[in-house]
């Protein structure tokens, strides 16, 4: 009733191929973007913007990156944290060597370094697949972890061994560093994430995305219909690592402010894999849902505890959080193995036929 495409005729190929062919979707997206770009910076509190919205967007971007690899191409990767680290360290090196170039440019360029490393560690995917590949990508994770700690050149021989984000400006307004306003940082992150999501959406809807999905569904058959496997797989690794690298750079420069190598550890990789699977494999909107759920769940549980004013030791709260998160993951998988994106689709379908059952 509210969500129905009756009367919306497609009169050209362009209309037919649109990312959002239904008018209500376009209106909905415009409203969401308006809220995100105007509403949140105007009315959101500082805590809400810098501790919830910015991390959420960063994780969404990383989840999109992993989703391209795992959800669309079917290559399971556990090296996401490492690739994010490559982006962050590359961005740091670039901006300290060439401080006059705009930081946004370097954030976007640092992804290409992550791409290069991603391709290198993606090479085994030409021979192995499934869980064997997952373990092979773990080697990337552990090697990069080691490299971040052991090569002091990466942090300009800092004694602390951590990235200290320098102050950089955009049109004279500080964007990174301690003096940057949360609203400014949020808007920069939002713009980058929105832009890259648009690119990702175009990629996965086009020829390249279709070849990825063919490889995912059955790589042998994909090869038989003329898709070059090594090209498709390595491209997926490159694009995925690019997104992860940019997400890592954003994470350090616009969220943390300074970062030790430990934040790019194996836990980060698993965290993002959770988001992708809970959100829905092979769905961009699912990446956002998954990031919101996995990042938001501990916050919600903690606020529940404080809401009831329970007197519990912080250690107990943490244990209960762990147990609840674990239980919820299993519960979500049982209820809907295809992820939140599938629930979203079902919801839309229900709205479309409402008030009739089908």
């Amino acid at each position: 009733m509210f969500y129905r495409e009756a009367g919306q005729f497609k009169t050209s190929y362009v209309d037919d191929q649109a990312i959002f062919p239904i008018r209500q979707d376009r209106i909905g997206l415009a409203v969401i973007l308006a809220i995100a770009f105007i509403g949140v910076p105007l009315f959101g509190s500082e805590f809400f913007i810098s501790a919830i919205m910015v991390p959420l967007l960063v994780f969404s971007l990383a989840a999109i990156g992993l989703n391209i690899l795992t959800g669309y191409t079917g290559l399971l990767s556990l090296g996401t944290g490492g690739f994010m680290g490559v982006g962050a360290f590359a961005c740091y090196k670039l901006t300290t060597i060439f401080p006059d170039v705009n930081i946004i440019v370097w954030i976007l360029v640092s992804g290409f370094f992550a791409s290069g490393i991603g391709i290198l560690f993606g090479l085994p995917s030409l021979r192995i697949k499934g869980f064997y590949l997952a373990v092979a990508t773990l080697s990337a994770q552990f090697f990069l972890d080691w490299a971040f700690v052991r090569i002091p050149w990466l942090v300009n021989d800092n004694t602390s061994g951590a990235i200290e984000v320098p102050m950089r400006t955009l049109f004279g307004i500080p964007v990174t560093g301690p003096t940057a306003q949360p609203e400014v940082r949020y808007l920069v992150v939002l713009s980058v994430v929105a832009f890259l999501t648009l690119i990702a959406s175009n990629l996965v809807h086009g020829r390249i995305g279709r070849s990825w999905m063919a490889v995912r569904d059955m790589d042998l058959a994909a090869e038989l219909i003329g898709i070059r496997l090594y090209r498709a797989k390595l491209l997926a690794f490159a694009v995925s690592s690019y997104y992860c690298g940019v997400a890592g750079a954003l994470m350090v420069f616009l969220w943390y402010g300074s970062a030790e190598p430990a934040v790019f550890g194996i836990d980060q990789s698993f965290f993002i894999l959770f988001m992708v699977i809970i959100g829905g494999l092979g769905s961009l909107v699912g990446s956002f849902f998954g990031a919101a759920l996995i990042y938001g769940m501990p916050i919600i549980i903690k606020s529940f505890v404080s809401l009831f004013g329970l007197q519990i030791a912080p250690a107990t709260v943490e244990h209960v959080t762990f147990m609840t998160v674990g239980g919820l993951i299993v519960l979500f998988l049982i209820i809907e193995p295809a992820g939140l994106a599938r629930l979203w689709q079902i919801g839309k379908q229900k709205l479309r036929v409402w008030p009739f059952p089908y």
């Binding site: 795992t70 399971l76 085994p124 021979r127 192995i128 499934g130 869980f131 064997y132 997952a134 373990v135 092979a136 773990l138 080697s139 552990f142 090697f143 972890d145 080691w146 700690v149 052991r150 059955m218 042998l220 058959a221 038989l224 194996i266 698993f270 894999l273 959770f274 699977i277 494999l281 250690a315 107990t316 943490e318 244990h319 209960v320 959080t321 762990f322 147990m323 609840t324 998160v325 674990g326 239980g327 919820l328 993951i329 299993v330 998988l333 049982i334 193995p337």
Partner: protein, 327 residues
């Protein structure tokens, strides 16, 4: 030239000059490899019999060891005299707890997820990992505990023997570990290859649907195999715990076992052993002789690199079943 010399000549010179050190390193690698193999065995058991890549194996090791120690403490507090009796009573109760865990996992987690894609089951074991971490810390607290090795009448101390101007020292607990692992592996191989239920396990690994249709009870099989993995986890926990202490940081040893898995093949019990030995010995030799060149800590990724090199030539691992692909 200097670099090449220090990579290709110098380490071997060192080996030839001090054979006692070489033997000591080899022995430590062998023991480490056996223990990796034991963890890998837990993975292989579950993967072979249900196609589930059980990420929770590492935390199961910690959980089993903590249960054993915790119950022992509880028993001594209740008046059972500390010593061998209490230790073996605690061992029996821990086995019962692992069985309970197997039943619970099957009931709550696996049964509703029958016939889902592998990655979903993999993901579910992540949920289990998180749950067990929270639950374990909640019940047993986060402090490291001492493993009751002496009470379980495991030997301690070391045997030294002279060799080429130096001496080699073998820890008795390591010798016991090697023996126990060998017996367990032999037993499990026999169980898988020769018994009726072992064959049923392999059928389930091939296809859930097909196994069901020939009358194999999935529920029963899963409980059996998760219990077997629990027993292996308990043995692993005792061995690793006796070498250091029981704490949650032990769970990272599961990452050590993963290269062993891909090296040996996910589905092969002998593969887990051979893979474990290659990784264990390679890692120790690499760390000891080549480590100083790259800076310390290469242990964390060297195993993966060794495994990757093998994979390039044999994508299914050394002993894995040959991958046959059909359209």
């Amino acid at each position: 030239m200097n670099v090449l010399y220090s990579i290709f000549v110098d380490p071997f010179m060192q080996m030839a000059q001090a054979p006692d050190l070489l033997v000591q390193t080899l022995w430590e690698g062998l023991v480490g490899g056996m223990l990796y193999a034991l963890i890998a065995l837990g993975f292989v058991l579950i993967f072979k019999a249900s196609g589930v890549f059980n990420f929770a194996q590492g935390i199961m090791v910690v959980f089993a060891a903590l249960t054993l120690v915790g119950i022992y403490d509880l028993l001594t507090k209740w008046g059972v005299p500390a010593g061998v009796t209490a230790a073996y009573l605690a061992l029996a109760v821990s086995l019962a707890v692992m069985f309970g865990l197997a039943v619970a996992v099957e009931r709550v987690m696996l049964r509703p997820l029958v016939n889902q894609p592998d990655i979903i089951l993999f993901m579910a074991t992540f949920g289990l990992t998180y749950f067990l971490i929270g639950f374990g810390e909640f019940v047993f607290g986060g402090n490291p505990k001492r493993m009751i090795a002496g009470e379980l009448s495991l030997p301690s101390g070391a045997i030294d023997f002279k060799m080429a101007g130096g001496f080699v020292s073998l820890q008795k607990i390591d010798i016991a570990a090697v023996l126990i692992v060998s017996v367990m592996v032999a037993g499990l191989s026999f169980f898988f290859q020769r018994t009726r239920i072992g064959r049923a396990l392999r059928a389930v690994a091939d296809s859930h649907k097909a196994a069901l249709s020939v009358g194999i009870s999935l529920e029963q099989i899963w409980v059996v195999v998760w219990f077997a993995a629990g027993v292996v986890a308990l043995a692993t926990g005792i061995m690793w715990g006796a070498r250091s202490e029981v704490s949650f940081s032990l769970q990272i040893i599961s990452f050590k076992a993963l290269p062993v898995l891909i090296l040996g093949g996910f589905t092969s019990i002998p593969g887990a052993i051979v893979g474990g030995l290659i990784i264990g010995i390679g890692e120790k030799l690499g760390e000891f002789y080549w480590g100083p060149l790259l800076g310390s800590g290469i242990e964390s990724w060297l195993a993966y690199v060794i495994a990757l090199l093998f994979l390039l030539f044999r994508p299914q691992g050394l002993f894995g079943e040959k991958i046959i692909e059909r359209i």
